[in-house]
Symmetry: D2
Subunit: 457 residues, 4 copies
């Protein structure tokens, strides 16, 4: 732990597990894992002595290195892999000067940095997938439980037709499913080692380069790509775009909840946790802290994704500026996505709803949101045009005179001639005009389970 | 990409076919295709009269509508689907007032706009995939032809070890393959109809909503998703991110070419086309016009992708502002990606190389880029440390005294004691230190063919 | 008028006057204005014959040129200024072959394009400043009129303390004032000609370059900068950033209004315009069309600003890709800002408020938002700690038992011992706890007027 | 720029002084400075006891607080100002329970956070202005020294006409001047306190709010704005945009230098610092480490600026998500701008040039870049058309036959008839065709000095 600027805010924006994956030590360890696996692979293939490899491997632990010293040298070298390799050589040489010559053999600093990054990304994806699975389960539960919980559907922030809360949650669930599917698919492209030597030809390993690559990849449980991708960055930038999509989808959940949680709406609430979202001078306050953190992430990630995309046209065999622009941006995206996911999980798992208030809000529209239902029922009886006109004028009266649409309709002879009071009551009942909400929830659940099976972590 | 201002520049930035896919008329036609298919589906299911459907279908042709009139009404309505539906109703009603009642039945304006967009995206993806296939073929050809064309590998814009032009092209090819794979995968998620009615419940269709959805999807040759996705935008924003990755990869090709084309480097050139890239006052000028257009696209697309990601947290059942932000941004990304691809295709297909200059540039480094080869050869003979020291000092002398490394080495007794002149000459020959360039090219070609088979258009 | 993709949506997103400033014809005219002024300047200085200049000037009208032909040639030339200059030469030569030699004399194509752009930007800024002035006046009116219109202040989308609508509008007004100030300031840097010749040295004009620059600038009523700024883009990108700030501030107005316009809040409304924001199947709908368009602009402009910033590091004397990335992005920002401003003007000028509903919403909090007022009054009487505890528990009871805070307080002996009923009534009256709302409104008005005087259009 | 992960890379991307300004402790201290000044102001005005104020002030030192504890509480509270105020109250209460009641009196947490931020920004701007002044001086020196150092001007990455290095540096200098001017101007808007209480009305201070604000502002040496700007973010986002422009301009310097430093160009070099930019296996490498770091910053800042612009439409009296998105983004921009400036300063101060190589590169064009000069000289003698044709064909021969233009011209009777050998030699001498390079350098220096005087730190 050091005194950097964002420790203070990490609790809001980053999951602790993700912070650990992307701390300085872990960055070093990722590179050291590469160096250790490289030595093991070369020893296995008889390229370097087994003793030397063992010696090298024994030193590949981040806690053996002085972070500040490597940081200082990074400023001069231009990247941290160069001073780290030097420090590793020094450490090995202190015990066995001959073994030291085999450190980092045939590799370039970007091989170590990129492979280290991929190892971090693998851990990050595992964490995200696990949390997505948990969020998916919590949402499945909501869909199940609230398949008949009726509330106002809202479009343009205005009342439209009634929906169910289950259907709303089903929409959220769908986006989680697709996020899982995307992460599952991209791993084939992204979870590969970087191994090419100075210009991607593996020249210093003679004819053994691909053999080494194969064993190295096996050691690290990553795939060996066709080629080094030093300046072909789409493999890792795709991770950023997928997390951009995920964070946007989580932002959608937060947007909905923060709107539902407004005092004047008051239909859904983030969990009440002591000390969370309160205000000492305003005891009634119940601030949507989780939603705010998620929305902040959804606001920040797009710009970071743009940075990575803009950095893609990198020069020749290894780039200048573009690659460097990735070093903090991609970890930041992972951290923000993890934080948004952590907050979403807490909020969804502890969500409390107020179905009574949902009903009251629906009622406050005095039934005008059911105009369509009444018009559809009248159409076969009076003709579609007349039905539409009748209902439109009734709605206008309901709004102007602050009456229920039902009451207005019951005063219209042209309506009561065709529809009985009980029929009108049925038509003006929101729960009677939910369309296929239940079937759609069932479809969403089935689709999610299908994806979940295929994207099993 | 605002209306009138871009005709002038379209030729540089947009492929003509993509411009047609995303012109105003095509936007109207996409919505009209939805309306026509909806009528046909409802007629097939007996929900509306077959006659009415036929009448509606007959009017669903963009050229029948007055664009300016719909544009004017869009300003008031807030989206173009509302006035278009009204205009369609009027047109049908002029012939058959009863049929007019069945226009747009059970749908909401966003159903028409989003499905229309997906139809446009399908055409866009087909176009891009076809052009990607052509670019892939042109790059395969380059990899084949230039597997032994040696040039300087460059890192940090500085000379590093030699590579082959085939390997460089193989890197470009790899990114094209992955782009094809991504487009292939996302179609399953993106090429779906939008159909939910006002709040996604399909309420006005009673129990027939999903049946209608199924036939509607079949009519349009799209898939029926589990749910309406009015405010779950990841399906279409994913298209934007994939095109962002593609444009970035094309930008990488352009970056390399524009650097290789510098007067002082002069190793590769965009095709010489009369009137292209010249200057009347500077007759020697040969400007990389294609690369400039590609780099412009690679600079512009990231911000547009960020816009779409930032717009994702949309409100409730249909959003306010976020959805509207997509309307021009997603088409613009498709247009820019298509233009970059068109330019890349022209540039790669007509690329001319100067292998002699490549050799001369390599020679200008006086062999110091082969220091590693010499040191590796000396190591078993004098020890690794001594080998490294010998070579390093020889390089320094070569640089300081403007001599060839080979000549310096031949003056070093400690070297000549162990290595003959012919051995030294071999070691200082760039084509002898290409590592696995050929094998890697073969791997890249094989990988590309594997992807190509799976992603067949 | 042509069939491009966005004419359909222009009415929502772009002001008609701004569309005219940035149409293709206007782009050509901007370049032609440069060419004409250049000829006039050189004639005035005796560098070219007066006759030739007159002939050239007479042809510098965009309507004389075939747009499609120039567009086609642009594709080859890489920018539209090259074919336009050729077409101008041809047109002049058809009448006077000698005069044709003096067209575009000493200039480079970027001189024409950039100066043309600056002329367009000048018109754009004038338009924006005029509309900002009108918006400022409309907001001043709101501040004046609603200095005592009380409504809930909301933080984190939750009720906080009462405010006045005047104060809310004063906040909006402040941002308009600062936007005017910024536009006023940047004009000194941005409204300059571009004039440098091929590499900025004005070499072909011998020693007369600066003289020509001075007259040219005077002719165009622009300033002559110290140097050409072919690859120093901060002058024009600053315009983009200022419009980014402006659009964000307009987005704030739209955010507030769309939230206030929610059915459940219903305190403020966009103007009711026939056919605007309605829905045929949902007669009660009153969609915030203007706010949606503004929010769409506020979502789109940031990515475009990022594009321009990312394009700034342009190569050497004239760039490759970065400059080209500006050509459509900067006009698009101007268009979107103008559209947002046009919509804001309409919305603010026609805004309707419902003070009764504001009162009712305040009342719905049962007075708990005034807890602070009561606690402050009690503190001197019972001690601050006791006061705070008393009020906090009273609030909790009010919330739990759905009672008014006033009624709860009147049942508390410890309270009534110190405060009379009328005192309690006064304390629980929202209009009594508005702090300095009126003074702050007055300050805001004064500050705005101060800025307005200094930034007079 | 997330906490732990960046220590390792800070040396490359952030100036140490800026890191200190934006570390966690400094964030706390900024808020504590607000609390202390608030207490002092209220004591001065007799609103709270002087003793209490003194007690409060004595505790307002960041090192007195347990960072981890506040970080943990931040997660629940939603922002760090709430737990910090509580911790301050606890600390004061431990000594004087009565004084503790006056902590944070009348303020809201955002008042403390925003004012703290402004204090940090003030320090950041001072640092940046000082460094800009130093960079300006270094560039003035370059302009002075290299007013006659001739090199190829390059457009589209191709040779154009000759320029001087002084003129190139003058372009860089101009952007530094305008950056200083912008920072100077925005301080009036940005360096203001935030002080409004819960909803900006200052209600809990009765009629004393503005008085307190005035003294508070005086205490902190900031200005008192007309209103609280809790959700009017343009004041601080403008800082981000100005730094975005600055970083883009620094990126331009780095772009130029990294291109000039290419092996094949080799005209300018970053300073040679032991251990900087080298490679152990490639002893000839001299990597442009500084330029890479600057370009990385110029790639990253645009996305962060877009984030802040996108976050501007904040809700009502205090926002949800947008404000939170600023907390790390604005500091990150300051850090990256400072790092880019630090690197630019080092690079420019230690820049080494190779005028001989500049001449050789110019010579390598065989004089064709001077075609314009020859044509202008011939025009009065043979007519402009004939002159142009003669020179164009001579250039083509020079390029095709690898001859010097001068030699080709000397073989052309039509040329030698009019121009003597010595005249031709003069025309083909690059230093003779520099136009107004010297005058323009002088203009740039004068303009910079004018700005510098007005923007004195």
């Amino acid at each position: 732990m050091n005194g950097n600027s964002d420790t203070l805010l990490d609790g809001l924006f980053v999951s602790p597990a993700m912070r650990e994956i992307f701390c300085d030590r872990a960055r070093l360890q990722g590179m050291l894992d590469f160096e250790a696996a490289l030595a093991r692979a070369q020893a296995e293939l008889g390229i370097i002595p087994a003793d030397a490899a063992a010696r090298i491997v024994s030193h590949c632990r981040a806690e053996h290195f002085e972070l500040v010293q490597i940081a200082t040298a990074t400023t001069r070298a231009g990247n941290p892999a160069i001073p780290l390799a030097k420090a590793l050589i020094d450490a090995v040489a202190a015990e066995d000067i001959e073994a030291a010559r085999f450190v980092h053999f045939g590799a370039t600093s970007q091989d170590a940095m990129d492979t280290g990054l991929v190892l971090q990304l693998r851990a990050a994806l595992e964490l995200l997938e696990t949390d997505l699975q948990r969020l998916g389960s919590a949402l499945e539960e909501l869909v199940h439980t609230h398949g008949k919980t009726v509330l106002l559907g809202r479009t343009w922030l205005q009342p439209a037709l009634p929906v169910t809360f289950g259907l709303k949650a089903a929409g959220w669930l769908g986006s989680v499913g697709r996020a899982r599917e995307r992460l599952h698919e991209l791993k084939r492209r992204a979870l590969v080692i970087q191994f090419g030597g100075a210009t991607g030809t593996l020249a210093s390993l003679g004819k053994r380069g691909i053999d080494v690559g194969n064993v190295l990849a096996r050691e690290l449980k990553l795939a060996l790509p066709d080629l080094a991708w030093h300046t072909q960055r789409d493999r890792v930038v795709e991770v950023a775009t997928a997390l951009g999509l995920l964070t946007g989808s989580l932002g959608k959940i937060a947007r909905d909840l923060s709107l539902l949680m407004q005092w004047e709406v008051a239909e859904a609430f983030e969990p009440r946790v002591p000390g969370r979202g309160g205000s000492s001078t305003m005891p009634h306050k119940r601030n949507p802290v989780g939603s705010a953190a998620i929305l902040a992430a959804a606001t920040r990630v797009p710009g970071l994704v743009a940075t990575l995309l803009a950095a893609m046209p990198q020069e020749h065999e290894r780039g200048l500026g573009g690659w460097q622009a990735e070093w903090e941006s991609l970890p930041e995206i992972c951290c923000l996505a993890s934080g948004a996911l952590m907050q979403a999980l807490q909020v969804v798992q502890g969500l409390s709803l107020d179905p009574a208030r949902m009903g009251a809000n629906l009622a406050s529209t005095r039934g005008v949101v059911l105009a369509e239902a009444v018009a559809l029922a009248l159409a076969p009886l009076v003709g579609r045009a007349a039905a539409h006109a009748l209902v439109e004028s009734a709605c206008q009266r309901a709004l102007d005179e602050s009456k229920a649409l039902l009451d207005v309709l019951r005063e219209e002879d042209e309506v009561t001639r065709h529809l009985s009071t009980s029929e009108l009551e049925r038509l003006c009942e929101p729960s009677g005009y939910l369309g296929l909400s239940e079937e759609l929830c069932a479809r969403a659940l089935a689709e999610y389970r299908r994806i979940a099976r295929r994207s099993e972590v």
